[in-house]
């Protein structure tokens, strides 16, 4: 999943431009003093219909997090995967898993959650025919290459690695050893689906039915989605409020203004430009907690100018030319922390976060930066263009700041310029079409709290989010070894060895770890953000 702000931003730029009055969303009903026990929260329209395996952006993910519960759930505080619907997940070889589903769980329409609910959902998500964005999550399961071949049409409809044993038991066979597999099962793509999803697909999309603590009452695209507490929810994490109104905002500044004006209860994306004022505006009603998000600069390795031995020195030099501390202080008011590795502090040191792994290559050192870039043959093309999507304000701020930092280090006003792309969608398209000629913004929000998720999807040869097409045999070999490790500690240290390969090549420049930030109204208490920077809605109390 990519970083937090795009889906919303993409919509906004166009709307702001066409009708300057349109940004600001629903307004009107609800608001700060709405229905008793119901809170209102800022939101953006999801990119796709809310099929769990087709939602890989944050706004849709927020809703899935409320209306679905999977086999595992990530602890809102620690991020550790704990059993939710899974009674037990057994394996002896890290390749064959037997999963038992707890008894007594139902969907909000009354249908029982069974082993078949999971197997059918996973088969649906993996199938090439259904064209689901998160299909690659099922890529470890045996038979994926038949169901979702890289080219041509599929030769099977179901994953051969999935077998229903009885009502509450199914087995999973992976195509390689992957000791972390059970911990990935908290991701929304692995959610169970009721039969109505398959029998009345259009009806389900109009009003999705899940097994989480909330159910969707109504949704008006571009305005708001109303979620109500599901009283019959069997889980222990029942909603502490009567419901949540998610209001669509196309601009985080407007949402923040509405919060201050008392028209909104919760804003989970405080705009960078307002960070200086949150203390005086909100006092203690402001949260700033680490989230599993890292921002990096990726490079186009399909461009020979960046794929040679000298370019490695240039990349390291660029990394040293960026004054991370000053930028996180000044632009982000300490809601970002300068990065010193390629993972995230939310993993914890046991989980693979290693402060300082980057070493001196991530320290600001303009003199050394200048030397390295000169030794490496100078900037390819004489000028560095950092490509980013301009539809969210904060990206432009930090890209300009990074460029100024590089310019100052190199003593050249025009060494680096930002290259804005109008919308996030266009930005992603250009990346997909390999049109980048220099570094580009790459944000990564973890899907599940494993070091594997910060490395393999981004740097493994031809991995799903390896946008720069970086490829390194040593890295691939170390990742394969790490995945095969059954001992968690050994797996983590093997991943860290792989991370060192990323460092030695400076495959991507780590910039900073991103915090989740949120502000809320006086009506709310017990507000927290989970490690995915999503509010823990079910625990919020409304007075």
């Amino acid at each position: 999943m990519r970083s937090a702000t795009h889906a919303r931003g993409a919509v906004c730029a166009v709307v702001v431009a066409l009708a300057a009055t349109a940004c600001g969303g629903g307004g009107g009903s609800g608001g700060g003093g709405g229905e008793s026990g119901v809170l209102s929260s800022s939101w953006g329209d999801p990119q796709n219909p809310l099929e769990p395996a087709n939602t890989n952006e944050v706004q849709g993910g927020k809703v899935l997090d409320m209306i679905f519960r999977g086999l595992k759930k990530y602890d809102p505080k620690t991020g550790n995967a704990t059993d939710m619907l899974a009674q037990k997940i057994d394996t002896s070889d890290s390749q064959n898993f037997t999963i038992t589903v707890k008894d007594g769980w139902t969907f909000s329409n009354g249908e029982k959650v069974t082993a078949k609910s999971f197997v059918d959902a996973w088969n649906y998500g993996a199938s090439l025919r259904n064209n689901q964005k998160n299909a690659y999550f099922f890529g470890y399961i045996q038979g994926y290459d038949k169901v979702h071949p890289a080219g041509g049409s599929q030769s099977a409809d179901t994953l051969s690695g999935l077998k229903v044993v009885d009502d509450r038991t199914f087995t999973v066979r992976l195509n390689q050893k992957f000791s972390g597999f059970p911990d990935t099962l908290g991701y929304a793509a692995f959610a169970p689906l009721p039969q109505s999803f398959f029998t009345d697909h259009a009806g389900w999309l109009a009003q999705p039915v899940g097994d989480g603590p909330y159910r969707i009452e109504s949704y008006t695209k571009g305005s708001q989605m109303s979620l109500k507490k599901w009283d019959g929810y069997p889980g222990g994490d029942k909603a502490q409020n009567a419901g949540v109104d998610l209001k669509v905002y196309t601009d985080s500044d407007t949402a923040y203004t509405d919060l201050i004006a008392g028209n909104l209860d919760l804003v989970d994306d405080v705009p960078a430009s307002q960070l200086k004022n949150v203390k005086s505006d909100l006092g203690g009603r402001y949260i700033n907690t680490p989230a599993g998000i890292i921002q990096t600069l990726a490079f186009p390795y399909y461009d020979s100018a960046w794929n040679n031995s000298g370019a490695q020195k240039v990349r390291t030099g660029l990394s040293m030319a960026i004054n991370r501390k000053q930028i996180t202080d000044t632009i982000f008011q300490n809601t970002r922390t300068p990065a010193t590795d390629w993972t995230s502090p939310v993993l914890g040191t046991d989980g693979g976060f290693k402060e300082g792994l980057c070493g001196s290559a991530c320290d600001y050192n303009p003199a050394e930066a200048k030397r390295l870039i000169r030794e490496g043959g100078g900037l390819p093309g004489g000028q560095l263009k950092i490509t980013y999507n301009a539809d969210t304000g904060s990206h432009r701020m930090w890209v300009d700041a990074v460029c100024n930092s590089i310019n100052n280090a190199l003593g050249n006003d025009k060494a680096c310029v930002g290259n804005p792309v109008g919308t996030f969608a266009d930005f992603r398209n250009q990346i997909g079409q390999h049109k980048m000629t220099g570094p580009f913004r790459a944000g990564w929000q973890m899907d599940y709290p494993l070091i594997q998720n910060f490395l393999q999807p981004l740097y493994y040869t031809d991995a799903s989010s390896n946008d720069g097409k970086w490829s390194d045999k040593d890295f691939d070999r170390l990742v394969d070894q790490a995945n095969a490790q059954t001992d968690t500690a050994k797996a983590v240290s093997a991943f860290q060895q792989a991370e060192e390969v990323v460092r030695d090549n400076m495959a991507a420049i780590p910039l900073w770890y991103q915090n989740g930030s949120a502000g809320y109204s006086e009506r709310l208490s017990n507000v927290a953000l989970n490690p995915f920077s999503v509010p823990v809605y079910n625990e919020i109390k409304v007075s």
Binding site: V14, D253, A272, Q326, T330, S405, N407, D413, K414, P420
Partner: protein, 326 residues
């Protein structure tokens, strides 16, 4: 801008000014010089033309004098910004971000630690370049097409009128977002080209109207009757009499083109960094309005002053060239 005809007498006098009379004046031209008109020339006095009248009026108009001085100043700093601002507009030091007025930076620093004064001074060049070039392009294209259509009439006139209708129907900002978002160039030329593309129909209509009016005048009929060619009639007799309204509208439009450039740059489809433009700076500074309003106010003020100066100049020119409206 009304498309009404000019006084016949002034129009006659205008011919004399519009181009140097060649010595072998045709009889038609002699006809035009019928003495005894209200503005008739006394012996020895210089002929009073529309233009000399206008110039006399303008010099006495304080609005014109003030706006002309502002514009002169803008043109000078566009050509030589280093006269009044030292340093580079691209030199930014994040350590100084959002700081207020201080020696060396009378307007303070913006969110990136760039010197707002330097950037505001350098931004004038973009605005003046875009305004002047877009106006010249629009005026040339619009008056040539409109003039030809008005003069020849008939089929091509109808075609052109429909084309102008089509262009009038395109909303400027929407058109800018669609057309300019595909442009990757980082110079002022795509922006100018876009303004010419969408701006010419306005001038074209006015030019067409005033050419049609001028065409019906007796001296034109006379020149025709004496066998003057189309091009001679157009250039010698019609153009000089039809050009005044075009000049008036174009001068006023100049200010709006400057504002449009800032609008497009603000929306991110006009000029892009590292170009220096007031629109870019306003866009970058607007999120910081609570903490660093100076970074927003100075470029906005410069933009407002410039647009105002050009529009007031246009007003003054209109008053001088079209006394009926006074």
């Amino acid at each position: 801008m009304p498309e009404q005809p000019f006084d016949q007498d002034r129009a006659i006098a205008g011919t004399g000014m519009g181009g140097a009379m060649d010595l072998a004046a045709t009889e038609a031209e002699t006809l035009e010089r019928t003495p005894g008109g209200p503005l008739g020339t006394g012996p020895g006095a210089r002929p009073r033309s529309l233009w000399s009248d206008a110039w006399r009026d303008l010099r006495r108009n304080p609005v014109f004098v003030v706006s002309a001085l502002v514009i002169l100043f803008l043109v000078v700093i566009s050509l030589w910004p280093s006269l009044i601002a030292s340093g580079s507009p691209l030199a930014c030091d994040l350590a100084k971000a959002q700081e207020g007025s201080q020696p060396g930076a009378p307007f303070g620093y913006d969110g990136q630690g760039c010197n707002v004064y330097t950037r505001t001074v350098y931004g004038a060049r973009t605005s003046v370049t875009v305004g002047v070039c877009a106006t010249l392009g629009v005026a040339l294209l619009g008056s040539v097409l409109g003039g030809l259509a008005g003069f020849f009439g008939g089929f091509w006139d109808s075609v052109l009128s429909r084309i102008t209708d089509v262009f009038f129907a395109i909303p400027v900002v929407l058109g800018g977002l669609v057309l300019l978002s595909v442009v990757t160039s980082n110079t002022v030329w795509p922006v100018i080209g876009f303004m010419v593309l969408l701006g010419w129909p306005q001038i074209s209509r006015i030019a067409r109207g005033s050419v049609i009016t001028a065409r019906q005048n007796d001296y034109v009929q006379a020149a025709r009757a004496l066998g003057a060619s189309n091009s001679r009639v157009l250039l010698r007799h019609i153009a000089p009499n039809a050009v005044a309204p075009v000049i008036v509208v174009a001068t006023i439009a100049l200010g709006t083109y400057i504002a449009l450039e800032a609008t497009l740059s603000y929306l991110g489809v006009g000029l892009k960094p590292p170009s220096v433009s007031w629109g870019i700076d306003i866009s970058a500074a607007s999120p910081y309005i609570r903490n660093a309003p100076h970074a927003l106010l100075w470029p906005s003020g410069a933009l407002a002053l410039t647009v105002l100066a050009f529009i007031m100049l246009g007003d003054a020119v209109r008053d001088a060239l079209d006394p009926k409206l006074r």
